[in-house]
Amino acid sequence: MAVAETTRRQRLGEFWSDFARSKVAVLALAVIAALLFLAFACEWVAPQDPYDLRNLDWGDAFLRPGAVGSGGYTHMLGTDNVGRDMFSAILYGLRTSFIIGLSAGGLALTVGIAVGLTAAYFGGRTEAVLMRVVDLQLSMPAILMALVLVAVLGSGVAQIVLALVVAQYAYFARTTHGAATVERRKDYIEAARSTPLPTRRVLFRHLLPNVMPPLIVVATVQVAAAIALEATLSFLGVGLPLTEPSLGSLISNGFRYIHTDRTWLSLYPGFALMITVVAINLVGDQVRTVLDPRQNR
């Protein structure tokens, strides 16, 4: 056990030194950490609770960034059309986006692994049917799937997560299946199958750890995609309402004032969204480079 512990730590150390070769990726990782902290500490960091309508004062509407409102504090990023402090709204929106992105990504990963492993391990008809469905879903753009599902399920955090999982699990299933069909033919799986170990154990303790690396890459990219998709849905008016601010609904609200000089309404939440999504993708890209050395060298 002690030996396994050291090698694992060594491998993590190696992974980190490879990862740290890209300064941009390290910076992106730091940005993600800072954003996660701000988002989940929003109740303490933000000067206002944007969910609580009693905090909103119509007299504070459309204050420019830096102005001091009736609450007696500075609105660093200005206020919106109902006097909501934009900085607070963005932090709360960021939290909503992270919750949706992480839970959708995590659930899609679980479902995708289950489908992919089942198909690869059992083969035959099960494999043919499952992977045919996955391929068909992959050929359709995720935004369209999510749009239809949200239209059917209605808006709300849980509904959006469900729609994103259905739209995204296929990416994980395809990756798992691809990696697992390669691993399945190797001797160690043959050996494990010839022992009286239960199928479940062979699947999860022997096969799964070896198909994890490509899945980690897909997972990072898909979390970013989920955050972007939620924002897009909210922007199109089928996602979250403005009373439950998400970055998408904030931008959508700001979009109505795009022809005026009140650009802070859409610019700041937009930049928050962009920085989040790009940072996650940069980290994902570097993880891919480290795990798959063929790609760049």
Partner: protein, 324 residues
């Protein structure tokens, strides 16, 4: 080969049937269109007449059956909001979307492939890294947000281009298109650039990956040993070898760009099919939703079928598997 095509065709029909049932039942589950469409002050008689006219009093399976029979006769029903046949509605919006998609794909390919070639030719250079960073941006930043930035920059601040709408429409070979007038082009350019960025990122990455792989191949060494110039090596030999995946993806992405147009059309208020579907979802215009979705499913199944058949022709292993 014929057995393989027949088998795939059967599968496709099955998929279209299953998807149409799912879409129909799913859309049926959304709200009650009567509440949205009819003035709450309307008399019961008017309500009943409308319910009967749209067949909403019949059981679900019967509504589905009526729908399928009508579709088989080329009738997709009438829009509940615009009160015109759905076919007329969709086909009147289709040219706008198609021209947007074509211009976007042209931009993505004509810029993306050369950029990808360069990034793959000198992968360690600064410019190559800048190109790759740009492709990550194109990939990850949500389309609607880039669209807004484009409007803010080029329409509101600089005032160079219009911020939305389709502009004047001219005729080209009998098809109404805004590509026939200069003013029309000024309307197309921003949404087309917006729609193209994602695909451009894809094209860059795909071309670069192919380039990096191909530049190490033996035939490149031989071509260089023959004394060919680098230009001749890249465009005469390498590009020809990496063009097959590029063409495949171009074909596949044409379909998904049609779907992506939903977002761009909403941002730029472009009167295409994508805007139509968003509006119909928001207004619970069921016949339009169901028809659009079924058409999209058929489109994607068709594209998949064609790709499968083409691959089977090219790759004997796929063919053999199908004929077992």
């Amino acid at each position: 080969m014929i057995a393989f095509i027949l088998q795939r065709l059967m599968q496709s029909v099955l998929v279209v049937f299953a998807m149409s049932v799912i879409v129909f039942v799913g859309v049926y589950a959304i709200g009650n269109p009567i509440d949205v469409l009819i003035d709450p002050g309307a008399t019961q008689a008017i309500r009943d007449a409308l319910i009967e006219r749209y067949g909403l009093d019949q059981p679900l399976w019967q509504q589905y059956f009526t729908f399928v029979t009508n579709v088989a006769q080329g009738d997709l029903g009438r829009s509940m909001v615009y009160n015109v046949p759905v076919t007329t509605l969709i086909f009147s919006r289709l040219p706008a979307t198609l021209e947007l998609v074509l211009v976007a794909m042209a931009i993505a390919t004509l810029l993306g492939v050369p950029l990808g070639i360069w990034a793959g030719y000198k992968p360690e250079s600064f410019s190559a890294k800048a190109i790759m960073a740009f492709s990550i941006l194109g990939f990850s930043v949500p389309t609607f947000w880039i669209g807004m930035l484009l409007i803010m920059g080029f329409a509101v601040n600089l005032g160079w281009l219009p911020s939305g709408g389709r502009g004047p429409v001219g005729e080209f070979l009998g098809v109404p298109t805004s590509l026939a007038t200069a003013q029309g082009w000024s309307h197309v350019i921003l949404p087309a650039v917006n729609l193209s960025l994602f695909k451009m990122g894809l094209m860059i990455r795909l071309t670069r990956a192919g380039m990096v792989e191909a530049m190490r191949a033996d035939y490149v060494k031989f071509a260089r040993a023959q004394g060919l110039s680098e230009l001749e090596v890249v465009f005469g030999h390498v590009l020809r070898n990496i063009s097959i995946p590029i063409v495949t993806v171009f074909g596949l992405e044409l379909g998904s760009t049609l779907a992506f147009a939903v977002v761009t059309e909403s941002v730029f208020n472009w009167p295409g099919v994508g805007k139509l579907i968003i509006d119909s979802i928001l207004q619970l215009d069921r016949p339009v939703m169901v028809s659009y979705l079924v058409m999209v499913v058929i489109l994607f199944v068709l594209i998949n079928l064609i790709v499968d058949i083409v691959y089977a022709r090219l790759d004997p292993r796929v063919r053999l598997k199908g004929e077992e």
